[in-house]
Symmetry: none
Subunit: 228 residues, 4 copies
DNA sequence: AATGAATGAGGATTCATTCAT
DNA sequence: GATGAATGAATCCTCATTCAT
């Protein structure tokens, strides 16, 4: 997942193209007002699909499994979506859209490096809480999808993500807030991964709230697990 | 990946059933003496298969892609292996076998909690260095495979893995070496994930040696990234 | 397309069953008074359908394409028609009905062989002018449809068509108006095809009127393209 | 179908790209030496497919019908061909390749206009004799395919075809061999269509040889069917 | 050891059709 | 008259697997 430093710009969000409420949906031509008329059903189906994709992996999931889980026939899904891939697309782009809304707010707040990291981590766990399935899918499928033109926004997002985190870490090192003896790039990777991998075991509504997890995680990453 | 505390036991290695040199290979019926005749080719093919599986995911990989990468026709692979699944099986069990050989040595050494963690992490990065593809596959496919009887050893391994890491962390807390205010289970998950996710970006022969990466990682996890 | 020699007979018109204004439409059960209520809309929709069928072929045309072209949704077509096939049926039978009305008039006029041929050709080009799409569809789909019971009238029509043309040619040979050294059957085929294939390139409202084309065509067929 | 006036040139034949024996077949990547190893089977299957396409139309033909007719399972066809469409492609391009070989020979012979027309017509009926199915398919599907990039060579071929025929007719008019009072373009269309539509009723091995049919046809077209 | 050809069980997708509103 | 949503059968195609050579 990417990051960005620059403040709000019109086309700032790589996924915005897709989630822009004003833009017509991908398959608007085929089913003109379908989305306007019943965005609800669409959303329900996407939630179901996301759950199944997250559990089994995109390729290992058959359209029929999604349909079964949603309570209709496989062919009926094609009334709502162009293809299995377009479901994946919409799941990911919707998630990234919301993620960047949150990130951009944090990055625009003008916080210090440590506070920025804390805010980003907290925001991340909140996103995991809201979009667990999408995050898990992102984790698993991202690498392979990045090459496909259709999913170009994944690469964009990754670039911005790196800018946001790496940049903040570097600022922190310069400011003497973070240790200078660590390889920043390596640190970035560790931090990034730890945050997002949580999606693979996190269960919303469980013992820990996202904020609680974020606090524990930050405590560990910032101060270490060793005593003294 | 699992853990274990108890020293070598007869059935210690969950993957032993598969890698035990004395046991006949799964597909002995079809390829009578094939394994004896050319274990080399077999290994080469498995390496190729692992690479492709890691790059594309098991389900998204076709037998023909493996064959293409290995320079023979799809059907010819079946002279060497029973099935696509048995290639996956052999890749994972071989990896786990070697992993546990290393882990068991560490766990049997009678080190203190902190030193044990350090040794486990270092050993882990060494495994990633040697079995990058297998580790990546394990990361991606593990969850789904665990349910299948054939891959029952994955669950076993996971159990032992948890015992090893969680137990060591708890021992450390008790001994006052690790902070008591952290949720041990959460800490375990963070540590576990970060280590293994590294397989997704690690490139053998790159800038950092496994030991170097382990050192940086341990420094971060043990002492935190913040100054003071 | 067929022909007939005999004058008006009760069941003369093969397509009459369908177009007979007194007979209830095929799908009377479903759309009780629909036909009475809005025969206009029905005709418009059929014209649209014919155009699309002609352009893409019956099988290659989806009901949705027709609906799109007509400005309503696919399902809505079923308020007007029983099925895609019944649209095809109605298009073809309507066309054949009108065609035979014209042909029968010519054949009943008691003209000489050459004049009969001239009149039939002219009438044919007039039909092409009025029913271009239907003729094109007939050309493309006729052969395959002939076998189906529902389209039995196509075979009837073909039979009568052959009688009309072949008979006239034979009368002409006997009368010394047409050359005796030509294979009449072969000639019939050539003449028949040339006339109707014109539907594939003819564009109503273009440079040539149907009568003009008929004249040119007759000049060529009767006198040849060579000089002297 | 097109024509050309210019003598043999390297890239003269629009379909050459496809039939060039030196060029690798479309799906060479997938099944390397398949074509070299067994061009026979491939040819047999194409012949079967052509027959079914001709009888039912491309769209109305299912892959299973072809397979049934060829005595194997539907999926097995995909060992030999990439897709149903690629079968169509190969059928048409092979046919056009041979057609143009014949036409080019005629056009390069330096005959007078009347003799050229005679030779072209005769050659055409020979092609119909040899490739009846392909010609029938060409007739039915050509128009719709022309738009697709993959079948761009159909448009090329049509252009050259028009050049050859129209040009020859015009030469004949100028030379006083053909009547000047006929619309050349209209004449071209009539002649073109009649020749090729013959494929829809012609049965190889029937009463008439291609040469016999050509003679009758030429006699009719050149001198007319009327006496005196 | 490897090939070429085939199998057969799915899998994604299309599409004519239905029907409650 | 028309819509939105769904059905279910069929279609093209993929792919792991088999096997004679």
């Amino acid at each position: 997942m990417p990051e960005n430093k620059q403040p709000k710009s019109p086309q700032k969000n790589p996924a915005a193209r897709t989630k822009d409420p004003a833009a017509p949906p991908r398959n608007a031509v085929r089913r003109k007002g379908a989305v306007n008329a019943a965005p609800r059903r669409r959303g329900e189906l996407l939630a179901v699909a996301a759950e199944v994709f997250a559990a089994q992996g995109y390729d290992a999931t058959t359209v029929r499994e999604i349909a079964d889980a949603a309570g209709l026939l496989a062919g009926s899904l094609y009334y709502h979506f162009d293809s299995k891939e377009s479901m994946l697309d919409e799941i990911l782009s919707t998630f990234l859209g919301e993620l960047w809304a949150g990130y951009d707010a944090v990055l625009a707040a003008g916080l210090g490096p440590r506070e920025t990291i804390e805010a980003l981590v907290t925001e991340s766990f909140r996103e995991i809480d809201r979009h667990r399935a999408a995050v898990a899918i992102y984790q698993k499928e991202s690498r392979r999808l990045t090459d496909q033109p259709r999913f170009g926004y994944l690469a964009d997002s990754q670039r911005r993500f790196e800018q946001a985190w790496l940049g903040t870490l570097e600022r922190g090192v310069t400011a003497g807030v973070f240790r200078a003896d660590l390889d920043v790039r390596l640190t970035y990777r560790f931090v990034r991964d730890t945050v997002w991998v949580a999606a693979s075991w996190y269960r919303p509504g469980g013992q820990h709230s996202p904020e609680e997890i974020a606090r524990q995680y930050l405590s560990m990453v910032l101060d270490g697990i060793a005593t003294g």
